[in-house]
Point group: C2
Chain length 215, copies 2
């Protein structure tokens, strides 16, 4: 990792060569997306933010979309990490951990709006960016695994399809995040905390499967 060498504080220039431009461009893209949405990000301005000429980014990314896709991939990786941490292998109790997972979903949308927007609002085609597809799958796999484990606590006869469970929770969490959590002009007012809304939804959902919410 030559870019973390001495003399470069992470954002400064060393001279003619930037030393860490790739990372600096990704940081700049995140800042721009956070400030103006994915549509507000431009290569030219990212270069400006990084203190570099408008042509420089093309040494590191094929085009604007490639840079955006890289941001989204990193976002999915961080997302997966946060979700996995919250789920914590289903400890101490699967149902409780499942609720923590939901909270972590909303927390990510709240705390990482730029990543979230790059992942879900940038309309990047999964087909043309296989790494993106893979990263997205890794994140969903955490949800899927959690649903598996929660479903396994139900007697075999009335056990719900865990894939469906995962999709339901994902959809509700994503809907709440889109409508009520994410900052920006389009955000709707909510007469309660988004986390409460999701938690109540997950609880009711699990109840319908015969799963108690408490200890």
């Amino acid at each position: 990792m030559s870019w973390s060498g001495p003399g470069d504080g992470g954002s400064g220039r060393r001279g003619y060569h930037h030393g860490n431009l790739r990372e600096a461009l990704i940081d700049a893209a995140l800042a721009l997306i956070a400030a103006k949405g994915p549509a507000g990000f431009t290569v030219a301005e990212a270069a400006r933010l990084a203190g570099v000429s408008p042509a420089a980014p093309y040494r590191h990314f094929r085009d604007a979309e490639a840079l955006l896709a890289e941001v989204a991939v990193r976002g999915y990786d961080l997302f997966a990490e946060r979700l996995a941490k919250a789920w914590n292998g289903g400890r101490p109790i699967p149902v409780r951990a499942f609720e923590d997972l939901g909270r972590a979903y909303l927390a990510f949308a709240r705390d990482q709006p730029a990543y979230y927007a790059a992942m879900f609002d940038s309309h990047l085609a999964m087909e043309t960016h296989p790494e993106l597809q893979a990263a997205g799958d890794r994140a969903f796999a955490v949800l899927r695994e959690a649903a598996d484990q929660v479903a396994a606590t139900v007697p075999k006869g009335r056990r719900p399809p865990s894939l469906m469970m995962a999709l339901h929770i994902w959809s509700m969490a994503h809907g709440i995040a889109s409508l009520f959590v994410r900052e920006g002009p389009g955000r709707r007012k909510l007469p309660m905390a988004a986390e409460e809304l999701l938690e109540a939804g997950v609880l009711l959902y699990l109840q319908s499967l015969g799963l108690a919410g408490g200890e």
Copy 2:
């Protein structure tokens, strides 16, 4: 409604005056949004589509955002109409009608992608567009009313807050629509019909409230 006068088929020009430019611009905006997303819509291209000079739209809309907001308002109105029709006053059975409502939600996202995008993706500030806020509220009111009525079938003691019910259903439907229904590069694959996923989700949700899904 002078714009529906004789000699104008709805898209043709009559001469120096267009005769129906306001409507034509809205149609053009819808076509552009459908083709390229809300970010792909421009005043200049809408004018071109309507067969008019780039300055003409400014006789009818203060600026680009005003045109987009008008599209969103009409979208909400149509949305409310479709939802109300599906709900049908809760007939024949509230729970069944509630499921129809959910299906209508997804159908709208599927059949009217341009309206849906203008409503939910264009990041228009509700605060600066009161008509938009009002139209959005009218649409949500349908959902709210339906939830009220469904909740009323539960014995008073264990009756859930209908506002919360409405928000849960809205969130799940919106999440499914965003992730799996809406066309475009960002759409995810789903191993079942989106309608089935939502229906199962609504059904489970209602079960947890002690409401049977059948007759």
